[in-house]
Amino acid sequence: MIPLQAMCLALVALGALAVVVARDVVRQALVLSLYGFALVALFVVYQAPDVALSALAVGGVAYPLVLVAAIARVNETQRRRKR
């Protein structure tokens, strides 16, 4: 394992931990997209550029967008119910 691979693996592990540790769901979604970028770096370093490309779009844009949209909807419903 070359140092760059070890570094990327450590970054992914740290990122995954950060996602679990984040308490606020919106913040968690944002940390999740950062974790996605760490995965992209890992795929590039392990010579899988095509996987990295789809991970970039899915982890960076698609997944956080859908998550944040769902969170916003649930939050709004809960706020209305409390009133």
């Binding site: 691979q5 960076g60 698609a62 859908v66 909807r73």
Partner: protein, 247 residues
């Protein structure tokens, strides 16, 4: 159970799982030392048999084309499922919602990012049989360009370009074209999804037979699928935020 007991139980479990994972990791073959026969065989037959420069795409759309069709239909089914579950809010319910990004900086960067992302996607799909990438990757990147329209401009812009009437049919056309190409091979007396076009000159855009066609079919289906899924989620959120949701 006390907090201490719970922590002790977790640490024991996590330690055991960690040890097992490390044991498994240590037993893996080194990076680049694949032990199975298929990788080596495919690398050697890709050029003589299919004239293809990107072996991965050759596997995905030719030797394992049938598996890819399954994946394609899984995505199709997932999109149908999302549309069914979120069918409460329909497009016309939120047609007049104004939800615009006010920051000029975000809008300006979106103006640059959207066309660049979309052209990159087209290039990734078009060169799938030559360089890393292909229909799945390019399709997701293309849908990201649409998502950026919402993120950097406003919901109404997304509503206009990502309408379900158009993208439903695009999704169906993409998925149908993939299956149709398979059936066409069958009609020509070949196996289902077998390559039936001339293989062309190595490493040029018009080569490798029907692989680029299948590639475009999946790219179109994937892009349309993701555009529809974003649309469903955004509709739902916009309806609740702007008080248009049905009670």
């Amino acid at each position: 159970m006390t907090t201490r007991g719970r922590t002790a139980l977790f640490l024991a479990g996590a330690g055991g799982l960690g040890a097992l994972l490390l044991w498994g990791l240590a037993g893996l073959p080194d990076f680049g030392h694949y032990a199975g026969p298929y990788g080596d065989i495919l690398v050697h037959v890709a050029k003589p048999q299919r004239n293809i420069a990107n072996v991965v795409t050759g596997v995905v759309f030719d030797w394992r084309g049938f598996d890819t069709m399954g994946e394609e239909l899984i995505l199709f089914g997932a999109v149908v499922g999302v549309a069914m579950l979120l069918r409460e809010t329909r497009e016309h319910d939120v047609a007049d919602v104004v939800d615009a990004v006010r920051s000029d900086a975000v809008r300006a960067s979106g103006l640059v990012a959207v066309p660049v992302t979309f052209v990159l996607a087209l290039s990734v799909i078009a060169h799938g049989h030559l360089t890393p990438g292909g229909g799945f990757q390019g399709g997701v990147v293309a849908s990201a360009a649409f998502a950026l329209v919402f993120l950097s401009a406003e919901y109404r812009a997304y509503h206009r370009i990502g309408g379900t009437a158009l993208w439903d049919s695009v999704e169906g056309t993409g998925a149908g074209a993939f299956v149709g190409l398979g059936l066409l091979a069958l009609a020509l007396g070949l196996a289902f999804l077998e390559n039936f076009l001339p293989l062309g000159t190595w490493n040029t855009l018009l080569s490798t037979g029907s692989i680029p066609l299948l590639n475009w079919a999946s790219g179109v289906a994937v892009a349309a699928g993701f555009v529809l899924v974003y649309g469903e989620f955004l509709q739902e959120t916009m309806a609740v935020r702007h008080g248009k949701a049905k009670p």
